[in-house]
């Protein structure tokens, strides 16, 4: 099972905050593109599909742009 665990991901020590922030930025840009293309707001599923991620991950990414970091400063100040 250690094997499975290693196989299942190669993301090593990447912090959640960084990853979500990157996804969040990508989501913002894609949202604009989709809105223009379809002439309406994309739904969360459409955007997640376009990004190739799960809706749940997108929900966290949408929150992340600054919040995770500011939380960090709250906790460790």
């Amino acid at each position: 099972l250690g094997e499975i665990k290693r196989f299942m991901r190669d993301d090593g020590m990447i912090k959640v905050s960084r990853s979500l922030k990157e996804l969040g930025q990508k989501a913002k840009a894609l949202k604009e593109t989709l809105a223009k293309k379809n002439e309406r707001e994309p739904t969360i599923q459409e955007l997640a599909d376009e990004m190739g991620i799960e809706v749940e991950e997108l929900v966290m990414a949408l929150e992340a742009n600054s919040d995770v970091e500011s939380l960090q400063s709250v906790i460790y100040e």
Partner: protein
């Protein structure tokens, strides 16, 4: 009524749990495949209600805040409950720009935001018992 689902989340009234409450509600509501705008409206309303529970309800002391979310077809009902100081004059509290804590640079626009971003907002409160804010929104992206 075709589709129903519900959840309830409780947490300590720490300001960092506002973000958590927003994500929890957004994640739950996402099962209805709303637009990003609808999610953002709901998150704003949840934030305002939870912030009020933290700052006014519990006056930054520790207390438990409970947020429930009930989905019936395409209507989302969100209830934010605290057992804090309560509101004496609800009508006054809901007036735009009214704040009991001007010294904290509060804008007094919390309830107005909730009303703007949701379809309905009901407030029940009793002094020293606590406050219940119930908000409803129909997700039109599903129509």
């Amino acid at each position: 009524m075709q589709y129903q689902n519900s959840m309830k989340v409780s947490f300590v009234s720490k300001s960092q749990n506002e973000a958590f409450a927003r994500v929890a509600v957004a994640a739950f509501v996402s099962q209805l495949d709303p637009t990003l705008e609808e999610i953002s409206d709901i998150k704003t309303a949840v934030s305002e209600a939870v912030t009020n529970a933290v700052i006014h309800g519990y006056e930054n002391q520790e207390g438990i805040i409970t947020v429930s979310c009930d989905i019936s077809d395409n209507v989302v009902e969100i209830t934010v409950v605290d057992e804090g100081v309560g509101i004496e004059d609800i009508e006054q509290a809901r007036e735009p720009l009214y704040t009991s804590k001007p010294e904290l640079e509060r804008s007094g626009m919390g309830f107005t935001m909730m009303e703007t971003f949701m379809d309905e907002v009901e407030v029940e409160s009793e002094k020293d018992k606590g406050t219940i804010v119930r908000m409803r929104k129909k997700l039109r992206s599903l129509e």
